[in-house]
Subunit: 230 residues, 2 copies
């Protein structure tokens, strides 16, 4: 049972009014990413509605939302199923990310103000602390926060949308990183290049650093796949 949020009192902008369908979507996404719903598994609206304790309407909308985010596949008259994932999909996805994100990083870095750099500095230190504590999960979340904050300064809204789209699709793989202890340390070193570029407001350097980060992440994911599937 998901249940409606108690709705914290206070004025909220209508745009971020949390809808039940969005809540269900997040809930289902969590189930998929965590593996509770296996790739290829059929997602019957009725059953999900029962599980979540809501009616079919929000479940239906949630499935549409997740379809856009690439987590589920929709076939008319047949229903929804968890999107399959394989090495080919990862390669495709990262090829797209490598086209979009480095330029987005470039634009974002060039639009940064001193205060923004301070915030990013804080996140960078949080990442370092997470590595020092050997907390892969926390490193992952701080890392995501860093990139999210950086992206939010990209002045091209369309590009932001597209990058977020690829992130939603990629999120399924990120949990892998948290389970690779050796990954965080190396990632931190590589991330330093990006952060240096941020502090220097060097768009070119940021673009190159971001590209390198993606390249390495792709390699790690593919390697993990190989280990898993022989």
């Amino acid at each position: 049972m998901i249940g409606r949020a108690p709705e914290a009192t206070g004025v909220v902008h209508p745009a971020d009014h949390k809808l039940l369908s969005r809540t269900v979507a997040d809930w289902l996404a969590e189930r998929i990413i965590s593996g509770q719903e296996a790739p290829g598994a059929r997602l019957a609206e009725t059953k999900l509605a029962e599980l979540a304790g809501v009616s079919r309407s929000p479940v239906r909308e949630a499935l549409r939302l997740l379809a856009n985010e690439g987590l589920v596949e929709l076939v008319p008259r047949l229903g929804a199923q968890v999107a399959q994932v394989g090495p080919a999909d990862v390669r495709e996805l990262y090829a797209c990310r490598m086209l979009l994100e480095p330029p987005a990083a470039r634009l974002a870095v060039r639009a940064l103000e001193p205060d923004d750099v301070t915030e990013l500095d804080a996140l960078r230190r949080a990442m370092e602390a997470a590595v020092a504590a050997d907390d892969g999960q926390r490193f992952l979340s701080e890392n995501i926060a860093y990139f999210r904050l950086l992206l939010s300064h990209c002045p091209n809204g369309t590009m932001r949308d597209l990058v977020e789209l690829t992130w939603n699709r990629a999120a399924r793989y990120w949990s892998i990183f948290a389970r690779l202890p050796r990954y965080s340390r190396g990632s931190l070193a590589q991330h330093k290049r990006l952060h240096d570029a941020v502090r220097a407001r060097d768009g070119d350097a940021a673009e190159a650093a971001d590209y390198a980060i993606l390249e390495r992440a792709l390699g790690e994911i593919l390697q993990t796949f190989e280990v898993a599937h022989g």
Copy 2:
């Protein structure tokens, strides 16, 4: 009244079963692109349902579809409205297209088989015929068909999805071209570079040609905006 399609008899793959919500979405998209629904106009589900002669359910789904395609904007609890368009949006959109489509063209060209080239040849000739007949509308549709066919051979499905997304957003501007008689002729000349690359299966050349095409299209659209708005 839209009415259910008579459903041409014969076996159809479930994946392309035309749903009422999709029909409504196409209908509404046409209304928006043609200007029957002004930018910023509010789109009440009830009214649209009445207009289309269907219930609110498919209308609701149609609005969600068009929101993904960037034609409408959705605000929780407030409803949908036709997305605004301005020079800044065009610039943003085309910046993204210029990142995605040239690489997509490159991959597609390298994956072409002789039969595919023959088909593209036919479309190229159709474009030439349209220009000879001074039929801007037909040139536009043949041009779209050409790029659609080319894109369909891009082996990266994720990239195809993203490019189609940007196309849906860009479609609002394309009708402009049909009304610029001088455009078609120049576009045809520029398109020749791409088609030559296609026939030679030269990925690099195709990428460069596609980039140039987009660059020019952006310039034309911006110029049209300036003329329109002073």
